[in-house]
Symmetry: C2
């Protein structure tokens, strides 16, 4: 069983496939980055965080599940907003510190109502 220890109240054991868990390179908080894109269009919707348990739940339930760094708990995307994410594919990157999650996004991805969370343009054209 994978043990995730520390004082942050995250789960200490998960059902994540140990072959996958062994390939993860987590940050000091036990997290990997999750890049979320719209399956049909490829649009990048948001960036969230996953610990082992969030990745396990995402893979096993098909519903995108993350770790909230501010609220310090798991959350299923859409659990309050209804803007669910149905998972179509998940891929790990070459150094194990990020996953790319392709989803069918129901409604806007961003809590602001925008389609994507990346709407604060710092350089260049929108889109």
């Amino acid at each position: 069983m994978d043990r995730v220890s520390d004082a942050s109240s995250r789960p200490v054991a998960t059902g994540l496939d140990p072959r996958i868990a062994a390939r993860l390179r987590r940050d000091r908080d036990g997290l990997v980055a999750a890049v979320v894109r719209q399956h049909r269009t490829g649009e990048v919707l948001m960036l969230a965080w996953m610990d082992d348990e969030a990745l396990h739940r995402t893979l096993s339930t098909g519903r995108a599940t993350y770790w909230s760094r501010s609220r310090r708990r798991h959350w299923v995307k859409g659990e309050t907003s209804g803007h669910h994410q149905y998972v179509r594919s998940v891929a790990l990157d070459c150094d194990g510190d990020a996953v790319l999650v392709s989803v069918d996004q129901v409604g806007p991805a961003c809590h602001t109502g925008a389609g994507s969370c990346f709407h604060d343009q710092l350089l260049g054209d929108r889109g």
Copy 2:
């Protein structure tokens, strides 16, 4: 202007526009996630990390510049491989902990030679 100090040898002062710096929500290591996509196709290429100085250099030079968590130094994408990234746009997300960088990628993005770093499929179909 760049100071390199502290235990992690990250800069403590940068030329980053303070109005942008004020909107960043950094992790414990002072970093935000950088999602990198191919400008023309929208393909997600890689996930890297930026401190304030890396973001400043990316915005001011137009060459994608990151913070290497393993090597603990800045790197300009392509500086050794020749696989440069010419920056077309940069957008910050709604909670300030990630940027979306659209680039013209020269050659493969991944050090393995793959077009994208996300080639370890955990669920679903490739692509």
